[in-house]
Each structure stands twice: as structure tokens, then as C-alpha cells.
């Protein structure tokens, strides 16, 4: 009688342990999925913010000399210029001058940026920003 009771108790204990184990597995799986999903939501938010910033960028560009460009920020976000893209109007060839470090242009400010390489003044010049926009010199869209 005592053995039967012990056996039954043991069976119940094993069953309970199995149920707890299955429950813990389910909780772990759900927690993993929720953590991944939260990270995904964060990435979507970051991408949305980036696209919003991209739309808000507006720069004016002038090229006073072949070694210098003047960039004015008329947008509502600070822009970071990563390089200058120039097109020869005669043969349509291009030249890309990448900056060593992005040049920041604050809202409503004008910056004179020294170019690491000379860009001929007659060329169509545009500045490439970190948000993937390109702004061309005035009158050269």
C-alpha cells in the first residue's frame, strides 16, 4: 500500500516536472521571439527616422574655386557631407572626391569646405550627404 502510494507520488512528481519543463521551453521560446521582434521594431524605427531626416535635408552649393565649395543648410536637420560628385559637361565623365571625415553643416549655417582634391570649376558639382541625397550647385540640377 505504502509502495503504491510512493509510486503514485513519484509518477505525479515526474509528470509535474515534465509539465514544468515544457512550460519553461515555451516561455524561453516566446521570450526569444519577443526579444528579436523588439530589436526589429527598433531597427524599423531607426530606418524611419533616417528616411525622415533624408527628406528634411536641403543644401545650397556654390563652388568659389576648384579647391573649395560653399555649402548652405536650408533644411531642418544637420547635414553631413561625405564627398563631392562632379560631372564634366563636355564628355559627361564623373569625378568623385570622398572626404576623410564627413563635414557637418548645421541648420541655417554656411560652411566653406576645403576639397582634398581639385575639381575643375566649369564642372557640374554636387555634394553627397550621409543620408544619400545629392545637392547640385545652383542652376545645375
Amino acid at each position: 500500500m505504502e509502495n503504491k502510494r510512493l509510486g503514485r507520488r513519484g509518477t505525479i512528481a515526474i509528470g509535474a516536472l515534465a509539465i514544468i519543463a515544457v512550460f519553461m521551453i515555451a516561455v524561453t521560446c516566446i521570450a526569444t521571439i519577443i526579444a528579436e521582434y523588439n530589436h526589429y521594431v527598433y531597427v524599423v524605427k531607426l530606418t524611419g527616422e533616417k528616411l525622415k531626416m533624408k527628406v528634411q535635408e536641403k543644401l545650397s552649393v556654390e563652388q568659389p574655386s576648384n579647391r573649395k565649395i560653399k555649402v548652405g543648410n536650408e533644411g531642418s536637420t544637420t547635414s553631413f557631407i561625405i564627398g563631392v560628385f562632379a560631372v564634366n559637361p563636355e564628355d559627361n565623365n564623373v569625378k568623385y572626391v570622398k572626404f576623410d571625415a564627413p563635414a557637418g553643416v548645421k541648420i541655417l549655417s554656411k560652411e566653406n569646405i576645403k576639397l582634398p582634391e581639385a575639381v575643375p570649376t566649369g564642372w557640374k558639382v554636387g555634394v553627397l550627404t550621409a543620408y544619400g541625397n545629392i545637392f547640385w550647385e545652383q542652376g545645375q540640377a
Binding site: N3, K4, T11, I14, I25, C29, Y37, K50, A130
Partner: protein
Amino acid sequence: MRGRRGVSEVLGAIVIAILVLGMSVSYVLLEMDRAGSETYSVVDLIRGAEKQQKQLLSLIYYRMQGGRLILYIYNYGEEPSTPQRIMTDKEVPLSLVSMENMDTGDMISSIPPKTLVELTMPAPSADSLTLVMVTEEGGVFSWKISV
């Protein structure tokens, strides 16, 4: 007689306990395996979608030269983008497409993050079209082009 019954009762309890234990362990292991593989497939889907979100390409300039269309694409995202399909007025075979990293001058097959690339392909026959690029990472980009 009483002693024999006692032994068989103990044996029976042990056999039942072993059976229950074995079945429980098998069930838990099976459930762990099933739940694990299902969780990994969901996590893979989420990570794929995350990768897709991190892909951001911008067409900054394009030109025609000697029967070729040359595109300048900047990757301002955080993931590399590998073109898988390019469609203009027809699908462009990838064997006819070449890409050059504008920072280093190297020929590449994938557009690294924060990099400007020059993508060269055969010129389309239409003057005005929408170029669609599908990447291996699941991104789809389209740009209107007038040549």
C-alpha cells in the same frame, strides 16, 4: 505469499516509474526540439526582415556612355546589398552587369554600406523607364530613369 506480493508491487511501481520517466523525458526532448526549430525559423524570418530594413540605396546620378547605362548608387544603410535581379524594360543578365567601388576602384559584387558604387549595364531600349533592383538580402528598389 505476502512477501511475493510485496516484491511484485515494488517491481510494478519501479516499472511504472521508469515508463513514466522515459515517456516524460522523450516528450520533453521532442517538444524542446520542435519548439527550438520553430523558434529558430521565426527568428530567421525576423532577422531577414531586419536585414531588409537596414538596406537603403540611393541613385545619385546616371548617364549613358557607348551603349551602356552607368548608374551611381550610394548605400546609406547598414547592410551590404547584393543585386540579384535588375530589370529595366527587360531583365538584365547579371553577367552583363559590373560594379566598381568608387572609394577604392575595386570591382565588387555587393554594395558595401556607406559606399558609392558605379554600376554599369547594357543600355535599355526604352528612353524612359523604371529600373528595379532586387537584392539577395530581400530589398527592392526602383528608380525612374530618362535617357
